[in-house]
């Protein structure tokens, strides 16, 4: 099956304008993007090109001025606050440059938190969190607090929190931050592995080396998608032109 039915993320002619009149800033101007299961799309562009805006709209953290954002076929604009929050907790994982780990919680508690907020029992949430810790090769470090871990370990905890449970859409904004290149590569490897296992991923980065991990790279300039590399593999991508 091809087409939008199997898209995990779909942006349809999305605009985002901040302010109005002469002071209006057009962060995005008519961007369309489709990301399917097993596909990692990197978004590149200079500062101010709209990369991060695209990611916050994709994650339902902000609403477009015009156009539609769909996650697994659900229009985010049609959801009320409570349902949108639930969809974000269940289906979307975020990795940000600043990790947003809670310093008063251990690694495993940080990872389990979104599941517990979602009503998952403490034991089950803990079990899932431990599995996510294994996935990022931090087995045995679950009881540590963030300040007892290195920067690279903290980033992997943040990744584990984004990957825990059944998240189908993983959104990452410069996820390697200030990490050294080896640790940064390990972080991208994790993202790639989850996508290969069937998730859809969007990676915002200004580093070509990181974008190299993607199946497709799109280039933004002044809020417009100016180009896109051809998908790396898989004829299913070639059957729909909507990703371009």
């Amino acid at each position: 099956m091809t087409g939008p039915d199997c898209a995990v993320l779909e942006l349809r002619d999305v605009h985002r304008t901040h302010g109005d009149g002469e002071a209006a800033v057009h962060a995005l101007r008519g961007v369309s993007l489709t990301v399917r299961p097993g596909e990692l799309v990197a978004v590149m562009g200079p500062s101010g090109s709209g990369k991060s805006t695209l990611l916050t709209l994709a994650g339902g953290l902000d609403r477009p001025t015009a156009g539609e954002v769909l996650v697994e076929g659900e229009q985010l604009g049609a959801l009320n606050g409570r349902r949108l929050a639930r969809l974000r907790r269940r289906r979307i994982g975020y990795v940000f440059q600043d990790l947003n780990l809670l310093g008063s919680l251990t690694a495993v508690e940080n990872i389990a938190l979104p599941l517990e907020l979602d009503g998952v029992g403490v034991r089950q949430a803990r079990r899932a969190a431990l599995a996510a810790l294994d996935e990022v090769s931090l087995t045995g470090l679950g009881a540590r607090f963030p300040d007892q871990m290195s920067g690279g370990q903290q980033q992997r905890v943040a990744i584990a929190r984004a990957l825990v449970g059944e998240r189908r859409l993983v959104l990452a904004d410069e996820p390697t931050g200030a990490l050294d290149s080896q640790t940064g590569e390990a972080v991208l490897h994790l993202l790639r592995r989850r996508v290969d296992a069937g998730a859809a991923g969007v990676l915002v980065t200004h580093e070509a080396r990181h974008a190299g991990w993607a199946d497709r790279v799109v280039f933004l300039r002044d809020g417009v998608m100016v180009d896109s590399t051809a998908p790396l593999t898989g004829v299913e991508h070639l059957l729909s032109g909507s990703g371009r």
């Binding site: 070509a208 190299g212 100016v226 180009d227």
Partner: protein
Amino acid sequence: MSIRHGLLALLERGQMYGYQLRAAFEESTGSTWPLNIGQVYTTLNRLERDGLVRSLPEHEGGQRPYEITDAGRADLALWFVTPISRNDRPRDELSIKLALALTTPGVDVRAVVQTQRSATMRTLQELTRLKYTSDRPEDLPWRLVLDAMMFQAEAEIRWLDHCETSLVRHRPAAPTARSGSPPEVVDRADEEAHR
């Protein structure tokens, strides 16, 4: 690098005949530098002429193995200790192309930059995929070749980003803003839009 030094390095491992050399060469460069058998034999002939290798009696199967000579070993050692000069490499067609694009009427320089960036990015994606899928210990020499190609692709993309930023910053200025400014890089597309 010359093919001759590549073949000398392979023969330093032991005697080999043409097809073995070709296979070993491609293996050690991860097939990033395909050789045809004609190139291998032409190079072997020249190496033999220069006294750097010698051919041995034919095997029963008709294959003629070659071995490295002492002079060949010395040449190879010299190659390893001598840094490669940038002047020995071919001229960079891309930088010349962009420089010409800036001064050729009617060329959309930004489009030239973007087209190249997408193509190089695509190459970088392919290289990353290859590296990601070759993680056996014995793949190390080939991964290092891949790394070099990845760094080169990355550097080219960074340079293209830099070109684009320069094009944006150096729009044709109003007449009053021109004095004392460094030589301008002018985006022809913008220039035409301003007319």
